[in-house]
């Protein structure tokens, strides 16, 4: 199909980015615009293969402790300054210092710049995730002459105003919480790209508005749609195309986490009994309209490290009840064994609240009285979880490509911290710590996979977390949109290939 040049693509999103600098801010809200504005050393195709981007070639040393990037000579920032290895070095060290994913570049010690177009990343230990960490969403290259002025990078005024990168689009307008307008950067280093003249990201917290906008054709592309009702509706629309490709990278799992430090959830048999009482099929089919698929392990199936051989808990209420009896929690008066609370991340009802409520009615069947504790807003929830003041909580956590970045944090006993999205389950198993640390310090993917297989077996057996389902993220696009992003990072990667028919 012939690529057509020009046109304005309107992207609808429900999440408002704080600012546009992905080097200091994680999350898909920022990644979406940030990856358009900033280029990164590498990018990925839809099969986890690294591709040249700012770096024409790259090389990971045999010992896995250094990565050499050979940069393009023709790359310039939006303000006309050339992109040099100094910028790369500055950016990588800035990300190490400021990005919330502390494990991502933890082993990086320094970045050598033998010449203007060569950057060598030096690490203390072999770091398997280093190549993936060069992705657009994780490693935006910032112009040192702008961001290196000594101002605290997290609060840098240029994070939201007059943002300068070297990506395919440059910023023309950023109305916080409303819209972001990007224009084609005509000196973009990849010849002939991007195809679009203009990108508009319109931010509307109301999903109904997005749906309407897409249906009317005002909006041509909506990423990260997970709501079954909306998906069903849009799927039926002949003018729209819908795909679930492009979300392998972030690898989002919707799960039920236990506070294993608290009675009775410190008893693995209780946790197993609860897992046995949950009907994942009902959740994915009935609650999520069949768009979601059940999740069984800590690593998403689309990841190269996923293994199918994990401990599973098929629904069996009778068995569950027997397990609880065996664990010493006999049915008391009024058919109640004990009480638990469940929290959930506010904001995405279908994935979180509904499941929590389902669990309440489901667990009642085996004699567990569950109180759903709602949090008015994210901070309220975050506070409860971070301070480990919960029994169970629904949560939604991303793999972020490599397990080192997104998986380890949840299970390492060294990561039991008063911070959300750490090991707030207080799960502690020296064996697991060992396995993860080993897997995180070697490069060989085959060996790593073996370590992870063992790890997965253990954690699914000890159930600090019941994996419920994979978040059914979809990209909805108008049929007029060509080359809907399908790489592992999906929409959180440069849209320089996208065009309008």
């Amino acid at each position: 199909q012939a690529v057509k040049e020009g046109g304005t693509l309107v992207i609808g999103t429900g999440q408002a980015p704080r600012h546009l600098n992905g080097a200091v801010q994680s999350g898909i809200a920022t990644a979406l615009p940030s990856t358009q504005i900033f280029a990164s050393p590498l990018r990925f195709d839809d099969k986890w293969n690294a591709q040249p981007y700012l770096a024409e070639t790259w090389k990971l040393s045999e010992d896995g402790k250094s990565l050499t990037l050979n940069l393009r000579k023709n790359a310039v920032f939006h303000d006309g300054q050339p992109v040099t290895s100094a910028d790369v070095a500055f950016s990588i060290m800035a990300i190490k210092a400021n990005h919330p994913f502390s494990t991502m570049l933890a082993p990086v010690e320094k970045v050598d710049t033998p010449d203007a177009h060569t950057a060598v990343i030096r690490m203390s230990t072999p770091h398997p995730a280093i190549v993936l960490a060069m992705s657009p969403a994780l490693c935006p290259i910032l112009p040192k002459h702008i961001y290196g002025d000594g101002t605290d990078l997290k609060n840098h005024p240029r994070n939201s105003q007059n943002v300068v990168g070297s990506g395919p689009f440059k910023l023309t307008e950023f109305k916080p919480g409303q819209r972001i307008v990007l224009e084609k950067f005509d000196k973009f280093f990849l010849p002939g790209k991007p195809h679009l003249d203009k990108l508009i990201m319109t931010i509307t917290p109301d999903s109904q508005t997005l749906v309407l906008g897409v249906e009317r054709g005002d909006i041509q592309l909506v990423p990260y749609v997970s709501n079954a009702v909306d998906l069903k509706r849009m799927k039926a629309n002949p003018n729209l195309q819908i795909t679930d490709k492009g979300y392998e990278g972030i690898g989002s799992i919707n799960w039920l986490a236990f506070n294993t430090a608290k009675k009775p959830l410190n008893d693995v048999n209780v946790r197993k009994a609860i897992a046995t009482a949950i009907d994942k099929n009902f959740i994915t089919k009935a609650l999520m309209g069949g768009f979601a698929t059940p999740a069984d392990g800590p690593i998403v199936p689309s990841s190269p490290f996923a293994v199918p051989d994990v401990v599973k808990y098929p629904l069996d209420l009778k068995k569950s009840a027997e397990m609880l009896d065996a664990a010493g929690y006999k049915m008391g008066d009024g058919g109640e064994r004990f009480k638990l609370t469940i929290d959930y991340l506010p904001g995405s009802d279908e994935q979180q609240k509904n499941v929590a409520e389902y669990l309440r009615s489901q667990l009642k069947k085996v004699g567990i009285a569950v109180e759903v504790r709602a949090s008015a807003d994210f901070p309220a929830w975050a506070k409860r979880i971070a301070s480990h003041d919960f029994d169970m909580t629904m949560d939604n956590v991303f793999n972020w490509g490599d397990p080192v970045i997104g998986v380890h944090r949840t299970y390492l006993s060294t990561n039991i911290k008063p911070i959300i999205w750490t090991n707030t389950q207080s799960y502690s198993n020296p064996k697991v710590d060992q396995l993860l640390n080993d897997a995180g310090s070697i490069i060989d993917p085959v060996k790593r996979k073996a370590y992870y297989a063992a790890f997965e077996k253990i954690v699914t057996d000890e159930v600090p977390i019941v994996y419920i389902n994979l978040t059914p993220y979809h990209t909805v696009a108008n049929k007029k949109v060509g080359n809907v992003p399908q790489s592992i990072w999906g929409p959180a990667s440069p849209l320089d290939d996208v065009f309008l028919k």
Partner: protein, 285 residues
Amino acid sequence: MPVAPAPSPLVEGARMFARNPAAVAGLVLLLLIVVAAVIGPMVFVVDPFEIRAAPLSPPGSADAWLGTDYLGRDVAISLLYGGRATLLVGAVAALLSVLIGVTLGALAGYYGGKVDATISRVTEFFQVLPALLFAMVVVTLFSPNLLTVTLSIGLVSWTGTARLARAEFMKVRDMEFVRAERSIGAGDARIIWKVILPNCVAPLVVSATLAIGSAILFEAGLSFLGLGDPNLMSWGMMIGSSRQYVLSSWWAVAIPGAAIFMTVLAVSLIGDGLNDALNPKLRER
């Protein structure tokens, strides 16, 4: 001259009220709603949050005659249970706002001068704050539950009543029978509560009735924004949570909305009726 049996003003008012078909209709409607909200949950002892049928079944389905919402919760059952919370919050918040309003208004109107100036400033202050926004802040800051929601509604909506009470008290305060009462040695408390208040009761009752309507709307607004008590089914919450799916299930929004509408309408009709019935000017006709 034969002496007519003394009809108390209350009886007279009731008679006037009964003669107003719209008001009576409102009363009947409200009674029906209240009875449904009180008795309903006693008859159908279920969990309103429970998923009972396929999500998004339209009204008239076999399992759920008012349909189900996006989760498969029965709209009819939610409606029954939701009425409780909505009416409760409405009534208590209105009571609270009337209590605050009447007390402050009475003191300001009766004492005048510095007391009045101070209370008027406070009233003005609360008037200047956008009520809903302020309530939103209070509710989020102190976690949304029945108590905070009710308190915050009461706290932000008393100013109207206070102004009314103040004006009425000022009017009545200068009437000669109040002076007469003082001339026979009555104290301030007696004059305020036993003499003036009964004479301002008509407009205050009307305003209290309307306050219930406003409080219900207010609660609905907060719930709609997701700031109601999430563990309590209420009409506003039904609307708020189903809003995302309104294009696929209009009934899950339209029906609770209609319930709110009917309730507030009933309350306003009653308020209107009371206004006519308690207004001596109209009664003479």
